[in-house]
Symmetry: C2
Subunit: 716 residues, 2 copies
Amino acid sequence: MTPTRPAALLASLSLALAAFLPGHARADEGMWMPSQLPQIAAALRQAGYAGDPAALADLTAAPLNAVVRAGGGTGAFVSPDGLVLTNHHVAYGVIQYNSTPQNDLIDAGYVAADRAAELPANPDFRVLVTVGFDRVTDRVLAAARGRTGRAYHDAVDAAGKRIVAECEREPGVRCSVASMYYGTDFYRIRQLELRDVRLVYAPPRSIGNYGDEIDNFMWPRHTGDFTLLRAYVGPDGKPAAHSPQNVPYRPPSHLRVARQGPREGDFAMLAGYPGVTFRHRTAAEFAEQVEWTLPARGDVFDALIAAIEQAGRQDAQARTRYASQLQSLKNSRKRAAGELEGLRRSDAVRRRAEDERAMLEATRGGDARDIAALQRVLAAGSAVRERELLLGLLSSQTQLLRSALLLERLRIEAARPDAQRESGYQQRDLALIEGVLRQVQRRYDPAVEQALLRVLLARYQQLPEAQRLPEFDAAFGRTPAELDPALAALYRGTALGDEAARLAALEAARQARALPADPLLALAARLMPALLRLEDARKAREGEQLRLRPAYMRALVAWRQRQGGAVYPDANGTLRVSYGRLEPLHARDAVTFAPVTTVAGIVEKHTGQVPFDAPQPLLDAIARGDFGDTADPALGTQTVDFLTNLDTTGGNSGSPVLDARGELVGLNFDSNWEAVSASWWFDPRYKRAIHVDMRYMRWLMEKVYPAPHVLREMGL
Amino acid sequence: MTPTRPAALLASLSLALAAFLPGHARADEGMWMPSQLPQIAAALRQAGYAGDPAALADLTAAPLNAVVRAGGGTGAFVSPDGLVLTNHHVAYGVIQYNSTPQNDLIDAGYVAADRAAELPANPDFRVLVTVGFDRVTDRVLAAARGRTGRAYHDAVDAAGKRIVAECEREPGVRCSVASMYYGTDFYRIRQLELRDVRLVYAPPRSIGNYGDEIDNFMWPRHTGDFTLLRAYVGPDGKPAAHSPQNVPYRPPSHLRVARQGPREGDFAMLAGYPGVTFRHRTAAEFAEQVEWTLPARGDVFDALIAAIEQAGRQDAQARTRYASQLQSLKNSRKRAAGELEGLRRSDAVRRRAEDERAMLEATRGGDARDIAALQRVLAAGSAVRERELLLGLLSSQTQLLRSALLLERLRIEAARPDAQRESGYQQRDLALIEGVLRQVQRRYDPAVEQALLRVLLARYQQLPEAQRLPEFDAAFGRTPAELDPALAALYRGTALGDEAARLAALEAARQARALPADPLLALAARLMPALLRLEDARKAREGEQLRLRPAYMRALVAWRQRQGGAVYPDANGTLRVSYGRLEPLHARDAVTFAPVTTVAGIVEKHTGQVPFDAPQPLLDAIARGDFGDTADPALGTQTVDFLTNLDTTGGNSGSPVLDARGELVGLNFDSNWEAVSASWWFDPRYKRAIHVDMRYMRWLMEKVYPAPHVLREMGL
């Protein structure tokens, strides 16, 4: 997520740090801002941390500045020469970029024999090093204060854009503004943008992704989900595009890989970039998520999945083109089911409601009034939730309609000065838009797109009168009988299926010129006024939430204070620290999963078939039992993965896991199925995170696919 | 299984008891004959048994005479008035017999308010009380000694039949002859045949079969798989058919239900009637089972399953008629897969081979020569294994062809004096044959039967020349192209699809008269000479095995003696005792299942849909938490099922589980998936048995579906 966009602003709020009661934080739950750590120092030490919590407060200083954004996840520097450790699945695109049918590095893995053999990453892969984290609340809210609704939203949005634009004047730096505690506080984040990243070491797929979708979200796990990259900079030490002249980046600090491994009960700590959580949402939002959103999403996802599968049955090309979208829909569907199951199991709706009721009873004055106003704004949004869900999917699940809407909107925005344009349509976004328009070719089939639109628009046609839009009714009719011919005519007539046509339209749109005559572009122009009306209403609601949620957060912090607890901000893609320990999972009655797995499980799961096709060198090495000093002394064998109760969510992939001395013992790569609902509700009985044991990585690099020079570089 | 039949004779062999080294039995493995228990008394006491092992030696005296055969499983008397405790699934037919669409006792469960309300079982349901167990080895082998092959077989068979016929002259008694240690020793078993059995207490299906097929073979389990019956006798105390004048049977002893429950590590002991095991088979038989039999069975089962499912897709009536056969095939398929997986996981083939090699090196003289001869007999059987498998399925998987073969064979046998007839075709078997012929109506569809025959005969047609039978080739042709019209003609012309026609043919066959003219009956007459030839060869091989396996058993016992162990006979449907303890299951790497489940798991599994539709009164009672003295003091909640390492197999359903003091703490009802292979190889890491905790039964009968009068009768 991009923290400068309104949705991201809304996903977070900030509190005065004075609100924390040192030493009274609830252990195990919490994605703490580094700056909070000195204030919960007593709890951290009690949990077993042997270092100085104060040293963790500054995320731009060692050791936390060794933790970086890598691709879509997290990574960490593990050598003075810019070696970055992250997940195999985070670096997947890098490996894929270097693979050919003749030389499939995904299947075979890769060990660069020396620096010259390190392979360039795909050009859009980035390593981002945080170099600045500054509170800019007053600047962001200066113009917003005294305003309401849309005006409040736009003032915050404009201030954020100004701050980012000013910040990015420095070359090689990427900036963003993050809101903490849902609009309470704002921080400007400056990140060094390392663009020359290279592949150093990747295990074969059958290690790095052993178990694949079957084991996804599962514990016990036996996956070696790690890869080593290296960041390069220009000879001047500044970020630069890939070039043979570039030299390894010298990070300000790097993590030290531990020689010992962790055992059940041991302290563990993790730093990374969790994406988004909803733990501090209102009781009404919890109830809506469980009672409406998740079931409704499940229902419409099921229908979209069925439409794609139906089409794929007769048409192999359509099957191929929609394989990725289908996979993603199924994944979303599975997650929705898991989230629903987990929230019900934790009785989260009732517990949040009781908690909020007690909190509200203790809240008076202006904050109480603001919270009441917030509840009304949320209710107004709920009144149009079916329509919002369907219209959102209308562009996210289509290729040509999405392209047409994107082009028409760009045409409108391009007429304005860049700074006043909607986020996503500024100069800095044009490359991304072009990418979207280009990839259509590999993902589009007219019959499937029409089938998906039929699913969505037939549901739209059943909305109550108050949610109908005249522009949509005119375009698609009011009955399924009118819908089919309307869609057929649109897709028969459009030229947007052709890449050249889309790129020609992009050229016109970016110059704010009239778009070519095309039925789908004409449709986008007819629908746009309706979409802009809805966007205006949405932004007005979002502005109100941004204005009012801080009152809710103040009340919550005060309430937690009385209970002796501290409050961390909901996740928003910024660097956070979590601490806890290696802990078994009592997943169900009489079922206990130990927190450490061993190579015996690789052999047990091995079938010889993907995804349980452990490579022969690995099986041989296991059979030899030659584990040396990477074996666990108590278990007497080689460990593979381990489990902690650390607080993580999407975005934490690749987060380094540290022991009590701050040494690197693991690499986060997944969480368990029972924890899918933790984005809303942290249930200590079930929330676990899954990590690669660094001893497994070391053993693979020592004995199975040796890379002694890389181990030496890491000091091993 | 009926122990008097040749197959059963072959399934067991017997050893001189002097061969056992007291106190050196391997703990946990073993289905001991009660008479062996005094000789392993030290091991029993060391395992924790507090009673006197000598008191367990006589299975016709207390406490073991409280353990009975009930229906297809085991049961136990639990009151002085003939109350029999067994599994819900063992008594399922009894409950079903009393159910109507209007009053479905399977769904609702049943609590007889008083004795008058106890409902009669289906008339063929039996409770068998063992009253005699006498060694008859010399009588059985007298005429066989000095003979070989078919003659040896027939002499043993004839002697067994004579003993049974003589024994059954006493009214109300059912007799059989069991062979121990594969023909080494023979025992005559006399059992009181209690024919008036009534239903006293059954929980609803959603308790008694909670989880059904999904949880079958699974641990953790949450099933209340128990039912209480009562045995009645005539006013004279003798077995009698159902009559209102009958009175409760007063058993010679009954088991006392414990007030305490067991905990992890506690001693446990079980008595019951395990059906068949193969633990003492030769290394070659182990190898054949893993390398050929299980894969081949899996393969042909898959083809039969596909044929039924294909037919069912177009025809709802065929689907209904073959539902039970399909279910049974799938179950066999699943078991074959589980057995294969388990034997491979335990490396049983290699370990058995190494064990046998060492044993043979230590074996000399006549026994060594007999064992070599046994290996040759087994190899001769292996040479025709494909044909034996296919021809066996030809009658077990068909309805009309099986009927025709049954009728033709009966016609032949009926011409002989009853005592000389083949087992299964004697006077005492006629009711069973009639039952088989009558049930065809509900289970037959001509298209499906032809599809199944096509699967089997097409495979027959691919057999090598040496295994071909001229009669079969003439009847079905030598290619699939000839097969289809042959089958079509047979099924177009036959009248055996009509029940009256089958019963008319039965009337003719039992009088040894010519059968009616019918294409299928004519086919049976043409095939019969071939089948009788094969039977003759099979019986000759079986006779040789019966003659030679005792040498193998002697060598094995001597070998175990040197290792300090004792040998129990392979299971053969006779009463056995196993002892061990409550033990967790480490099923896979990092996965541990605790040995006791609680009511929390019922709620976790509850979906409201069959088979996880816990009844509301149960859910309410769990929510109330009103467990009283049936709760486990350490767990602080109500337990449901528990897990032991007791040695069990099919037939042990309903076996009582006793604690160290000999009190009833559980009721065996299943084993775990990992233990399916235990019929061949006992792997202490994985072999577990699953039991209902008697505290759960008591709690249900106290608080959920109360039956205080029944509890009082049990002394609770």
